[in-house]
């Protein structure tokens, strides 16, 4: 099986989905001849032509709003927002339209679009290029929101997102585009949405993360294993629907939970994970929940961005605190 990068896995999934369903098309800024600024759509124009691989004018609201119109008429648009920080105008279409068309028409019209966007920090980019936006999306009923942290998951989850009959936002951790490499079988097999991945089993503490922060979470889990602690590492992968069963099941066994994400602390999706535990697994909790997150400030420019992102030391310290407490 070929070892590919995460961005290549995205590319393979897009090509596969377009191959198997003539209603699938790709649109966004620079997705055509340029193959996307990260090359996620490379080669698609040559293979599928301008009709199915469309450069759009520079307007994120347009990209999402036109996709809603296409999806409502039975196409399956996979649209790209060049960086997550530019998604806000498009939120209007996601929250007010894409997520509601089915309800609004009692199922007569549906909106099977996928919105892909690179998300998260750590690539020394300018302002607005490093945002983590999953908490906004998680709070919009009618959307699904998925973020892979390995090439294999990128491939399988993106295929499922495209095949899903409802709107899915697919957040691709920019930092892992080339950093994360792994085997991907281009066999068209999807991975189920709404399912977390238990990457590593452990009896002492549950570590839940997603997206780019999985990278440091893995390193921190390694570190703690080296110190003799059993860390159960879970890649949530699906923000919504959230795989509560897997996470709560683990916390019920370990009694300790550390949640790690890059997005700011207050109102981050880590709060939802912690809240579910406080509601539904409180009796099994042996230590206060720990959240290791971006700060409640603006992601700084490159000089300080590493200081902003949850690092291995911070995560390891939180794991140790959770383990020490009773």
């Amino acid at each position: 099986m070929a070892e590919v990068t995460l961005v290549k896995a995205v590319n393979l999934a897009l090509a596969r989905a377009m191959e198997e369903d003539p209603d699938v098309l790709v649109l966004g800024q620079d997705v055509g001849v340029n193959g996307g600024v990260f090359r996620a759509t490379e080669g698609l124009l040559e293979r599928f032509g301008e009709r199915r691989v469309r450069d759009t004018p520079l307007a994120e609201l347009l990209i999402c709003g036109a996709s809603v119109g296409m999806a409502a008429q039975g196409l399956k648009p996979v649209c790209e927002i060049q960086f997550a920080g530019f998604i806000y105008p498009a939120l209007d279409q996601l929250a007010n339209h894409a997520s509601r068309l089915r309800t609004r028409t009692r199922g007569r019209m549906t909106c099977p679009l996928v919105l892909r966007t690179p998300a998260g920090g750590g690539i020394h980019a300018p302002e607005h290029h490093s945002e983590s936006i999953e908490a906004f999306l998680a709070h919009v009923p009618g959307l699904k929101c998925v973020t892979p942290s390995t090439p294999e998951r990128a491939y399988g989850l993106l295929l499922s997102a495209i095949r899903d009959p409802d709107p899915v936002v697919f957040l691709e951790p920019t930092r892992l585009y080339r950093l994360a490499k792994g085997p991907v079988e281009d066999d068209g097999r999807g991975l189920p949405l709404g399912r977390a991945f238990v990457e590593r089993e452990g009896a002492d503490v549950t570590l839940v993360s997603w997206g780019g922060a999985m990278w440091e979470s893995r390193a921190a889990a390694d570190r703690l294993e080296g110190e003799g602690a059993g860390v159960e590492l879970i890649d949530a992968a699906s923000i919504t629907p959230f795989d509560e069963d897997t996470v709560l099941g683990s916390v019920r066994r370990t009694g300790r939970l550390v949640v790690v994400h890059e997005a700011p602390y207050t109102g981050g999706f880590g709060a939802e994970v912690a809240a579910r535990v406080a509601e539904r697994a409180l009796d099994r909790l042996l230590a206060p929940v720990e959240r290791v997150t971006g700060f409640d400030t603006v992601m700084p420019l490159p000089k300080l961005e590493r200081d902003y992102l949850p690092g291995v030391e911070r995560i390891a310290a939180a794991l140790r605190r959770a383990l020490a407490s009773d």
Binding site: L62, S67, G69, Q93, R106
Partner: protein, 375 residues
């Protein structure tokens, strides 16, 4: 005539020139200003449009009355603007796609949506939008302008499939202030989409007069920014609206790209039943526009060609009333929707969490209703 400030350099060479033209057939008195288009030249071809406008007016009056009786929620009439929805709908083919705002109830009805289905929304339930009528038509857009991009996307779907179909999207003058509407124009231009955008320029947006929306002299010229075909039509002349839209749809179907039609009309009524226009609008202005309203002029023309009579009018009014009453009866006669619809139409498959919320929620809702019943 151009509203651009005095040209700072009349000696600079001109690199582009534009004109806005206005289309009119029937003047305010029902007299012909130019020959009728072939398809509408015979009186029998205009009477269905006339009938539909009278039905629209009958329905609107009924809805205002129902609202006053607290039997219907907030409702926006198309009073005085009926030529726009009927001009648009009558110019469309069945396979075309309508993307309406909240003043196009009459257009939906023309296209086959039931009166009860249309009114369901104002009676407080979305279920009517699951209409038996044209499956590809969009439901009413409440967000001003939010649907313009849907129209562009829908038009691309038709173009993608190589179908000879087109999209008609209607919105108000104030919608043209929104960036998404401009973006839709621009996309329609650059992708040569089969779509006609129709601006119902009724000169008001709730209390905001057009002069506070924009300094552009016409709204048609907003299409110049997108390089699309533009035209102004007398929006109180159902023939002009019909013909402008028909030409635009034909242009779209034949690969000629997008069209913007500004339909000049006037909002004779309050913004909606929750509004009182006397707070902000001089009644004299309204009176000055009354004679130009679209229904009377068609009747006057039909009468002038001996195609109409008081008897036919009485017959028509009775028929429209009966149709409206039947629709209203059907609406109020329907079983109320169960609260489970709150949960059942969000996704094709509910998540585990949503299923949990549904179970617990339906029990809680039942308890809440029971408590309310007991007082």
């Amino acid at each position: 005539m151009p509203n651009v400030p005095t040209d700072p350099a009349p000696d600079l060479p001109v690199v582009a020139r534009f004109e806005i033209r206005r289309r009119r057939y029937l003047d305010e008195n029902g007299a012909l200003m130019r020959p009728l288009p072939d398809s509408l030249a015979a009186p029998e071809s205009i009477t269905p449009l006339y009938r539909a406008m009278v039905l629209a007016r009958t329905l609107d009056a009924k809805c205002v009355a129902l609202n006053r009786q607290s039997r219907l929620g907030t409702y926006a009439t198309a009073y005085g603007q009926e030529a726009v929805p009927i001009g648009v709908a009558s110019a469309m083919r069945a396979g075309d796609v309508l993307v309406p705002s909240y003043r196009e109830n009459a257009a939906l009805i023309w296209r086959g949506v039931g009166i009860d289905e249309v009114l369901s929304y104002y009676a407080g339930s979305e279920r009517g939008s699951d209409w038996a009528g044209p499956a590809h038509d969009f439901p009413t857009s409440i967000t001003v302008g939010g649907h313009a991009l849907h129209a562009a996307g829908a038009a691309y779907a038709l173009q993608y499939r190589g179908e000879a179909r087109a999209v008609a999207c209607v919105f108000g003058d104030a919608a043209t202030s929104k960036g998404d509407v401009y973006e839709a124009f621009n996309l329609a231009g650059v992708w040569r989409l089969p779509v006609v955008f129709v601006i119902t320029n009724n000169r008001w947006a709730i209390s905001t007069p057009l002069a506070k929306q924009t300094a552009s002299e016409t709204l048609a010229q907003k299409g110049l920014a997108a390089g699309i075909a533009v035209e102004q039509a007398d929006g109180n002349d159902v023939v002009a609206v019909h013909e402008a839209v028909r030409i635009g749809l034909d242009r779209g179907r034949s690969g000629g790209g997008a069209t913007l039609v500004e339909a000049l009309t006037y909002r004779l009524a309050d913004h909606n039943t929750a509004d009182d226009a006397r707070r902000y609008r001089d009644p004299a202005e309204v009176r000055a526009h009354e004679h130009a309203e679209p229904v009377g002029r068609v009747r006057r023309w039909l009468e002038s060609v001996q195609a109409w009579s008081d008897a036919r009018q009485a017959e028509l009014e009775a028929a429209c009333s009966a149709e409206v009453e039947a629709g209203v009866e059907k609406l109020f006669g329907a079983e109320p929707e169960p609260p489970s619809v709150i949960f059942d139409h969000l996704y094709a498959e509910p998540s585990a969490e949503l299923a949990r919320q549904r179970d617990a929620g339906l029990r809680a809702i039942a308890a809440e209703r029971e408590a309310k019943r007991r007082g």
